[in-house]
Symmetry: C2
């Protein structure tokens, strides 16, 4: 299920902070388009930006990258090409996001704090990551989220109903937890309602608290998103 660390450096044994970076793509063996985490953003694969953001945090978390085994050799080639040498542990992904995170959690001690983050959100800021760890230490389970700019409707049976916009949050990552709490929650069998880690923790009876995120921390989804991410990255760099 898990693999030995593939990088020469070892993770920081003193840190009680962990970050699981979840990269998508489940064994299509590169037949289709290159998964978005490998696309170049300012010349560097998206996933490397994401790992860099977590590596820059204080305290520095132990990094665990979950990636389907079909992509491991491709990723190692990318790392060599870009001389990417952060310390992290590489774990094989499961058939689902649920299984992937569960695999990675087996490497996290119960008394740690653990952040789970989408590989394709490279614009996450260290400030927000750090605030999520701080809040998780107090609250147990927090998600980074932003209020919706748009009105919200819920559609059921082809009819739609407006919801109160002020009550609605769009949930991003990281989603950060006391590790023991999340590991215990992941013992529940998979359920269709598990769209993210917070929903797993919620199903186990925990309240989910919200840490204010940023609209810039969006998920690279469409072809034009790379250009938008580059624009925002360069703006941030010029500040």
């Amino acid at each position: 299920m898990t693999e030995a660390p593939l990088t020469s450096a070892t993770s920081n044994p003193k840190s009680s902070h962990y970050a699981i970076i979840v990269a998508g793509g489940s064994g299509t063996r590169m037949q289709s388009a290159v998964p978005k985490q490998f696309l170049l953003l300012n010349g560097l694969p998206v996933l490397m930006h994401t790992l860099n953001a977590f590596y820059s945090c204080q305290p520095q978390p132990n990094l665990i990258l979950v990636l389907h085994e079909d992509y491991h050799s491709y990723w190692m080639h990318l790392c060599a090409d870009h001389q990417f040498q952060l310390p992290y542990q590489l774990v094989g992904g499961g058939d689902s996001r649920y299984q992937s995170v569960k695999n990675a959690l087996s490497l996290v001690p119960d008394d740690a704090l653990v952040a789970v983050h989408d590989a394709v959100r490279p614009l996450i800021s260290t400030d927000i990551i750090e605030e999520a760890y701080r809040q998780a230490a107090v609250q147990g389970a927090v998600v980074v989220a932003v209020k919706s700019r748009d009105s919200i409707r819920q559609v059921k049976d082809e009819r739609s109903q407006s919801l109160l916009r002020d009550e609605i949050y769009l949930v991003q990552t990281p989603q950060t937890f006391k590790a023991g709490l999340l590991k215990e929650a992941y013992k529940h069998p998979y359920h269709d309602a598990f769209t993210d880690d917070a929903s797993v923790a919620e199903q186990a009876g925990h309240f989910i608290h919200i840490v204010e995120g940023s609209y810039q921390n969006f998920k690279i989804t469409f072809p034009e998103d790379i250009a938008i991410a580059e624009l925002l990255f360069n703006k941030k760099a010029s500040l």
Copy 2:
């Protein structure tokens, strides 16, 4: 309440399609930042792009622009500078969006179709506008909306609860109606839940149908949004 058309051309008397373009900013007399609808996007004010998009539709709608009177002379200067000469009617805005739309609706015949659109969504495509008119002719009340890319949480009393993402739509504009239906709905007194036109129609007992929108049709809200809109605009133009 309303003003005579300020442009030399008259609106198209044969069209039964109307579009109300709602520009924000309520009488701050330019003390604060320039309202977003006047910012330059590829050298042209955002609002002119928006009016152009509706003017390009078939059938061509009669355009009504709602703008607070404090900005009328500034707008006319902009029109002169940019030689902007589309036919439209200019209406003074009210103290609220609700009142602004109500003002404009008084110029729309009951048997028309009317689209209400945010001035700061300049990237709306003619295809989507036209589809919304077609659906409104059948269904009576439709909104353009997209599914959320993110998980959704509803927060009440400091606790959050996940909602089923597949049921949630982020509502954009245009919101398009049989005019008689919307005018009748706007006779109801203002209510805090009226965040958009669909919620006014819903309060009056109508079902709101959804027309698939585009993520590109976003609301210019933050300073970086102008650069993102330019990027998307130029991509569209190069296709």
